[in-house]
Symmetry: C2
Subunit: 203 residues, 2 copies
Amino acid sequence: MRETLSEQGLDLLFRSARSQNGWLDRPVGDDTLRAVYDLVRWGPTSTNGCPARIVFLRSAEAKERLLPALAPGNVEKTLGAPVTAIVGYDADFHEQLPRLFPHNPGMRDWYATQPQATEIAALRNGSLQGGYFILAARALGLDCGPMSGFDHEMVDREFFGADGSFPGQRVRTNFLCNLGYGDLGKLFPRSPRLSFEESCTLL
Amino acid sequence: MRETLSEQGLDLLFRSARSQNGWLDRPVGDDTLRAVYDLVRWGPTSTNGCPARIVFLRSAEAKERLLPALAPGNVEKTLGAPVTAIVGYDADFHEQLPRLFPHNPGMRDWYATQPQATEIAALRNGSLQGGYFILAARALGLDCGPMSGFDHEMVDREFFGADGSFPGQRVRTNFLCNLGYGDLGKLFPRSPRLSFEESCTLL
């Protein structure tokens, strides 16, 4: 018999988990953030490119730098979250391939000659890792509040400039994700989802 | 005490799971494919847009239609897999928002006036759902073999044209993913990953 996740585990990751809008006053330790990444890192990416880059904003000072870029509706919940993650990706991820994909040294050069495909691959695989990130956080008992309502260029300039995080890399912001322990009283009703027949075809 | 996934569950989804290149002769039932989607559907997407669209290729005839688009190195493992999923996204996902995001009827029109942002949102959120898909399949005991080595336009034409799957939608192929039960004898050695310090910053 093949091993599968328990019903409780499926609930924790998928069926009962909700995007949170309010947060309990309970901190998230750095050890937990490290443990989340230690799961995320193993998820598959094309040519093992691992383009995701994450900045964890924990202090009030760090959050303050993010606020001007946020859509108004995202300010309060971001201020209330113990941690806000900026999930980005390195658009020049292929520069790491000689180390990450050592059995095929030609891949770095292939990407270098295909800038448009490389840009899309960075977004695709950085977002796949974003999906791993959300589920890894939930697996470790955290709640997530992913957000797309913000000015991407402002966040890029503020956090990924020459004197920011990951200097020498061309990191772009993908999405934001509040992390903590959700205040269930602030949940909205769950929105409907597409049925199998609407989203999938069997051939 | 907050609920977390068991160590066994973390291994199943992240730490021990490997992208497979060879497959055991063991079928994957339609009920399992439906169960995978029934998990994927609950994962969060921006404005609940749910852009992912999936075609499951089960028959030899369906696989045959995919083969001309594959990079040579992906042919044999695709032929050997019980199921190959074409994971795509609807670039006009916002047309579904009046139903999926009913509390904010203006969002459909916002996307309609921002074609570039909408294109990126479709790829971002379709890829997040791709991450949920890979981990949901693993949660149900399946192995995955995700692939990016193929001609996207050829697959789009063959499967998402006017007489293909999801007529009336503008579906684009994102990545392919073989599904089944892996032949561990055909695994490659695992490639290295970036450390926490290389991928993450704490502010």
